[in-house]
């Protein structure tokens, strides 16, 4: 047995790093003891280990994760080496010594089992040796804010990078709050990767500007490129897609989610060469233009491994039938428009086509679905785990209910609010496995016939105890309902409620919704994401600061009464990463109350609040490692804009931590203080 190093000051250390990860069967019966923590994993039953861990002082201070093969990894704070060794011997676990005595390859192998980028970030800070091992072995790199770090620096640190994820614009860009040419250009990342990491295989971009030029470079510079995922991006056209189709040999995945793509009419889909047989996933649902359907059918036929296919609205039922005939092994399907000319034989063919597709678990599309065609999918409803009907306003409630009754394995459901409380009650009865529900508004500019209310949500919460993720647009909500939901569903990790009238109180009591949201944050200890709406005072933020300790993202709109609200959140939520606020009365005092907090967060967005230019300048002066960006869209050319005073309120402010200093691609209307 190798002598282990005595932990330094272990009794004084009160907040141990907690690491969790997956394990393989290789390292059985080993215990690693290094500096302050004991990492134990062995193929014993979880019960034995749990009791051992508790005895060793693990309760409350470590995380025990049950993994497959009966291996468990957990970390406990250790008092002395001797105590640990005696415990370990007692239970017949073998114990080895300090991890620093193990060669790099062994350490690297252990790191292979850490897949989450946060775990890898954590282990890289333990000591220099681990930093070096980790950086050379990291394959998947995640950059949450493209302006926080330069691409060169990322790629110099992780030369073995195979998969890169980069996010650009702030979240509120989704709702037109960020001007069009704000930034987030993907080209520097692709150019640098082309130079430094030509082995790149996967690229995932979210809210970035991707030009056709970037796509062309991407298509040509990476011989092993396999997967491109673009989410909420813009700036490219079907020409860029044609480049990808033409030049990426061995492409496995092309996933376009909710992008704005210009249709240049070029037959990009026909550009996939006959030799392309590798596609596993193809999603072009967001494209508006037509594609060459016979090219699509041939492509589907030769890609035998295709498991995910999401068609756009231009694809009719006739084409869908032909495609399904060639791809009976699909697991995920986006159906296209789901409408046909008035020919009755289409229905029978459709029924037969779906009958053969018994692998489908995920369905979406249905843009123009007519009720009679909907019946064709009843045969597969009972195996569905994901159903997205949120782009299908044509489906009526009663047809929806008829379909939902068959979907007893459903885990994720996205619908329009035309489902009504009645429809939600049907979901609550049928879908006992439901984990995620999203109810979108169908009548965005309408006068608001009350489609879903608090009743629907309460029904879901009592019928679907596994519910952990919610996005709910409704016309009204009550405190009583939220309190009931909190009691029924304590496992929420994402809770986003949007009452369409932004400052509406509880319609029964006329009170603000502070107590309701307070109940949610108190009950749902794992809550990571929260969006508020309705009439709210500072009190709700007091509750959030007090109880939402795992909260990472908070969205606030038209809420609060004073600076105190924002301060409660900044001082309370220790895991907060993203805070976005609009139209709320928080000003400079709140902004400057806890400036150090912003370096622990990814970003802060404030628009139409009471923050002034002077406040932004003060923040920038105190915190040089933040970029304090102010967006000025005023178009007057008067002195007010050229020399605005510090008392001048800023419309939009975006603050984020960065290693790079002010960005060099900021447009005229973005000022960095």
């Amino acid at each position: 047995m190798i002598e282990a190093a005595e932990p330094e000051n272990s009794r004084e250390w009160s907040d141990p790093e907690v690491h969790e990860g997956r394990l393989g069967p290789i390292f059985e019966d080993f215990a690693f003891f290094f500096s302050r923590v004991l990492v134990l994993f062995c193929p014993q039953s979880a019960v034995d280990l749990r009791s051992f861990a508790c005895e060793a002082g693990a309760a409350g201070n470590s995380c025990i994760k049950d993994l497959s093969l009966g291996c468990v990894l957990f970390v406990v704070p250790v008092l002395t080496k001797l105590e640990v060794e005696s415990k370990v011997r007692e239970k017949n676990f073998r114990c080895c010594g300090a991890m620093t005595y193990f060669p790099d390859e062994v350490v690297e192998h252990i790191f292979d089992f850490l897949s989450s980028h946060r775990d890898r970030n954590n282990v890289s800070t333990v000591c220099k040796a681990w930093y070096l091992v980790e950086q050379l072995s990291r394959l998947r790199v995640f950059v949450g804010n493209c302006y926080a770090v330069r691409p060169e620096r990322v790629m110099a640190r992780f030369p073995g990078m195979k998969c890169l994820t980069v996010k650009g614009k702030p979240h509120f860009a989704d709702f037109n709050l960020v001007p069009h040419d704000w930034g987030g250009d993907a080209l520097p990342w692709i150019e640098t990767a082309a130079r430094c990491c030509p082995g790149l295989e996967e690229l995932r971009l979210k809210r970035m500007v991707v030009s056709d030029e970037s796509l062309e470079l991407l298509a040509r510079a990476f011989p092993n490129f396999k997967s491109l995922v673009l989410i909420s991006c813009e700036g490219f056209s079907t020409d860029g897609l044609a480049e990808i189709a033409t030049h990426c040999r061995g492409l496995r995945e092309l996933d376009l989610q909710e992008n704005e793509v210009e249709d240049h009419g070029r037959q990009w889909l026909s550009c996939f060469p006959d030799s392309c047989t590798s596609l596993v996933s193809l999603n072009f649902a967001c494209l508006k233009g037509e594609v060459n359907t016979s090219a699509l059918e041939r492509l589907v036929a030769r890609c035998q491994n295709l498991r995910c296919l999401k068609l756009n609205r231009a694809i009719s039922i006739e084409s869908l039938i032909k495609i399904l005939a060639r791809a009976p092994n699909l697991v995920e399907l986006g159906t296209g428009s789901f409408t046909a000319d008035h020919r009755t034989e289409a229905y029978q063919n459709l029924l037969n086509a779906f009958y053969k597709c018994n692998s489908i678990r995920n369905l979406s599309g249905f843009w123009d679905a007519a009720p009679r065609y909907l019946q064709a999918i009843y045969s597969i409803c009972s195996s569905l785990t994901v159903l997205n009907l949120s782009y299908a306003p044509a489906i009526q409630v009663n047809d929806l209910i008829k379909m939902i009754r068959h979907c007893f394995k459903l885990q994720k459901l996205w619908v329009l609010d035309s489902i009504g409380d009645k429809g939600l009650a049907a979901v609550a009865c049928a879908c006992k496995e439901l984990q995620e529900l999203r109810v979108f508004p169908s009548d965005v500019y309408g006068t608001g016939i009350a489609a879903v209310t608090e009743e629907g949500l309460v029904a879901i919460s009592s019928g679907c105890p596994k519910l952990n993720s919610l996005l709910y647009f409704c016309h009204q909500m009550t405190n009583a309902a939220l309190i009931t939901v909190a009691k029924n569903c304590p496992h929420f990790t994402r809770f986003r409620l949007c009452i369409l009238d932004p400052v509406k109180p509880d319609p029964i009591s006329n009170e603000p919704l502070d107590e309701g949201f307070g109940a949610i944050v108190k009950s749902c200890k794992d809550l990571k994401r929260l969006s508020l709406s309705g009439l709210l005072t500072d009190k709700v933020f007091l509750y959030i600061g007090m109880y939402a300790s795992r909260l990472e993202m908070l969205s606030i709109a038209f809420a609060g009464e004073s600076d105190k609200g924002m301060v409660y959140v900044l001082n309370g939520c220790k895991n907060l990463k993203k805070l976005e606020i609009r139209d709320s009365p928080f000003g400079d005092a709140a902004l400057l109350e806890n400036v150090g907090k912003y370096e622990t967060m990814r970003s802060l967005w404030m628009s139409s609040c009471d923050v002034t230019q002077g406040g932004c300048k003060a923040l920038a002066a105190k915190m040089p490692r933040l970029n304090v960006e102010v967006i000025n869209e005023r178009e007057e050319s008067d002195e007010m804009v050229e020399n605005p005073s510090d008392m001048h309120r800023v419309e939009k402010m975006y603050v984020y931590r960065t290693l790079t200093g002010p960005r060099d691609d900021a447009p005229d209307f973005v000022w960095t203080f």
Partner: protein, 172 residues
Amino acid sequence: MELELGLSLPSSDMMMEKRIKTNFCKKRSFDEVLDEKTVTLPLFLQREEDGHGNSDSELNYGGGRVIVGWPPVKLPRRRTNCVKVNMEGIAIGRKVDLSLHDSYQALFRTLYMMFPKKHEDLTYAHVRRTEEEDGGCDYKVTYEDEDGDWMLVGDVPWEAFIMSAKRLRIIN
């Protein structure tokens, strides 16, 4: 005709009203009208008056709600509201999506870009100055409403306009 947009809520709860006023009236040059229950806002002219005026989050509690970026749904989910636009004397028309605009100002901006006047350098500032000088501009924009009548654009509240406009026509 001046448009009056009431910032008082339909409910008679004074507490809430006060809160809303505190939140949203306490802005910019509207400070001086805090004493009044309702605020009269000229909708699309003289916006330069309130130097720090924020037209971005204009609230209208009259009956329709037009708040930029609210409700928070992504673009593909918003119902598009495209209407054809023709200009007198030009054979080829254009299409404009009214749902992407939050005011007459924004619409005119788009129209001027689509149908620029010849021989003029059309910066937005220039366009707006022209607008307030003439009380209109060289060309007038009309629309066909649900009844089939041709009306001058700008008379009704924006949200009423976008729901009733079927087609636009620009007259020299």
